[in-house]
Symmetry: C2
Subunit: 114 residues, 2 copies
Amino acid sequence: MTDNTTIINHNNCPGQDILNVLATKWVPGIFKVMHREPVRFSELLKALPGSNKQSLSVALHQMEKHGLIEKRIIKEKPLHIEYSISDTGTYLLDVFKTLSEISNMNKQKEIAAI
Amino acid sequence: MTDNTTIINHNNCPGQDILNVLATKWVPGIFKVMHREPVRFSELLKALPGSNKQSLSVALHQMEKHGLIEKRIIKEKPLHIEYSISDTGTYLLDVFKTLSEISNMNKQKEIAAI
DNA sequence: ACAATAAGTCAGAAAAATATGACCGACAAT
DNA sequence: ATTGTCGGTCATATTTTTCTGACTTATTGT
């Protein structure tokens, strides 16, 4: 793999690499699609309109590198590749939930302030 | 305020706006500096070498907009402005911790695999 | 043997984020 | 009256991220 996928960590903050991966375009979408069941590359491409191979490819590599997803090559009749959320990735979904709660908290406050 | 600070949310994921703010350059650094005590604009600029007014200004606006920090104008002798972490922002620091843990979990696995 | 599909890679173009340097208004000190 | 500091904004330049479209390799189907 040619590594054009290196990300810069500006503050030597330990969690920031993952934060950068999470905030990469399409990554939250990929999580959402994978949430229920494993997916194949081409399914992701269809499931995320506006996305493209290149970006998904880079995103998937990053996610794999950080242990958020797992890649399985299934040697069956059509031989296909399957991506699924890892335990670590599942753990991360809680982070998304936390962020959503915070977001909602803030919206409530804005409404209350009117 | 001219709003050149709009961020695009690609998947209509509720927590993603905040995620994008968090992953904005200097934002984790700002949190780190503010962690112990409120800071002034110029202090941030000094405390984060390599940063610049423009980026810090945009970051602070974003953070304020999402309720992560609070801005106070103190009408004392030199009249200064103070930024501090809000309750929501404090809550977010836990998210950073979670991410750090995940990051470490992953590193441990890599080491174990060697 | 030939075309088709899946899962990509690669180089270059376009878009978005970040940085630079000039400038401004309020206030303070000399 | 002039200079200096604080807390910014603005237009523009640079850098980084994302997108496009052509190409590739492996396997399968006809």
